[in-house]
Symmetry: C2
């Protein structure tokens, strides 16, 4: 009937963005556990199965959540003019910006740690940090290690930054196989870091990201700092 027509017309059509926005709001308000397909749909005045026309499944919804948060970080970073001449100030600003966003979405770090893929936006964030450090004179090796240390702080990663899960889809094959050239263009510093590190590593295939070494490096960094602070 016309009534129903107008009801339908009144309700804004569902989109991936509207679904994700509702999910973010729900996670912020009631925690990530409240983000169920039925519940998100309910917030949008819709049934659960309707979401599947805009997102392939729950996994993609969760991936979409980290996408939204990462994009929020990127936007916030873009919105401020960073002190490009001082690498420390720039890296610091980027990390602190990421942190403020994480504080707005306390569920985000845990979610990022549990997902099995890293959305491109996140690599873009890494790129910004790596670029600042390399421009500041740090070697790619040092930048690589710093990325682990800082990522561990901001996101609470224990698992590796570049090898997110046990699933086969690690970054390295991903790079080797598909759009390597495109990635090199979009993420020059990161690409340079990866190729440099891969070249230097004893085992170029799997060993370039030696988590034990990263860990000990960061540990020494912290301990040296504490030693000096020990007034």
């Amino acid at each position: 009937m016309t009534n129903i027509e107008s009801m339908r017309a009144t309700r804004a059509p569902l989109t991936r963005e509207r679904v994700l926005a509702a999910a973010v709001a729900l996670a912020d308000a009631e925690g990530i556990a409240a983000v169920t397909m039925r519940r998100v749909a309910g917030e949008l005045g819709v049934e659960a199965m309707s979401l599947y026309h805009h997102l392939p499944g729950k996994a993609d919804l969760l991936d979409g959540l980290v996408d939204v948060v990462a994009a929020e970080v990127a936007t916030e970073i873009a919105g401020r003019d960073l002190p490009a001449e001082d690498w420390r100030a720039e890296v610091s600003a980027r990390c602190l910006t990421a942190r403020t966003v994480m504080l707005r979405h306390p569920w985000a770090p845990g979610l990022m740690g549990s997902r099995s893929t890293v959305p491109p936006v996140v690599y873009g964030l890494y790129e910004g940090v790596v670029g600042a450090m390399v421009r500041g004179g740090l070697s790619y090796r040092l930048a690589h290690r710093a990325l682990h240390a800082l990522g561990s702080m901001v996101l609470g990663f224990t698992q590796e930054v570049f090898r997110p899960a046990e699933a086969g889809g690690s970054l390295e094959p991903e790079l080797a196989e598909a759009g390597l050239a495109a990635i090199v263009d979009a993420l020059p510093y990161t690409a340079a870091m990866i190729t440099t590190e891969m070249h230097d590593a004893t085992d170029p295939v799997l060993g370039w990201c030696d988590s034990q070494t990263e860990f000990e490096f960061t540990l020494d960094l912290l301990l040296d700092g504490l030693e000096r602070a020990r007034a």
Copy 2:
């Protein structure tokens, strides 16, 4: 019948420990997602509901898992004689030991981050680290901050070490209400650190654990170290 009797007699009786051991083995083998009540019971040749006579529920099973891992760390630390005269070496050894255990149980850091309570064993681990640092001459303030930094590395915490979740049960009320005296006895360094920090803090109730300050402190520590390493 007698057959059934002997079967029953053959099967070792369920205990909290046996259930947790089975759950740990399952998590190690197939990931934390495989740890369901039915599945754990199945591994023990038992029905799901039987577990409830030894654990109140799934939450307690998961809490028990982090308990087991923390105890494993404690055992491993106790098993080696630490270089007590060198605080750096001692802290380093404790952290590296914790890390090797985490590597055996890759699901553990994420689980620890998601639980809403911190089992006493974990506080015991903190105590060991705090003690080493204080004996090494670090102030309680510095030790407190170092605990955040190191905990962030080992466990991948983003959330606070001492205020694990949004649930009301933070450490501070917990301390104030219940067995404060017992905790002070068992964890002297930690207790001293808490009272010292609480006393110094501007807002003694909630502000003694200023995560923003912790974060910036660790960040500066890392950045100072990177600056120096920037050869």
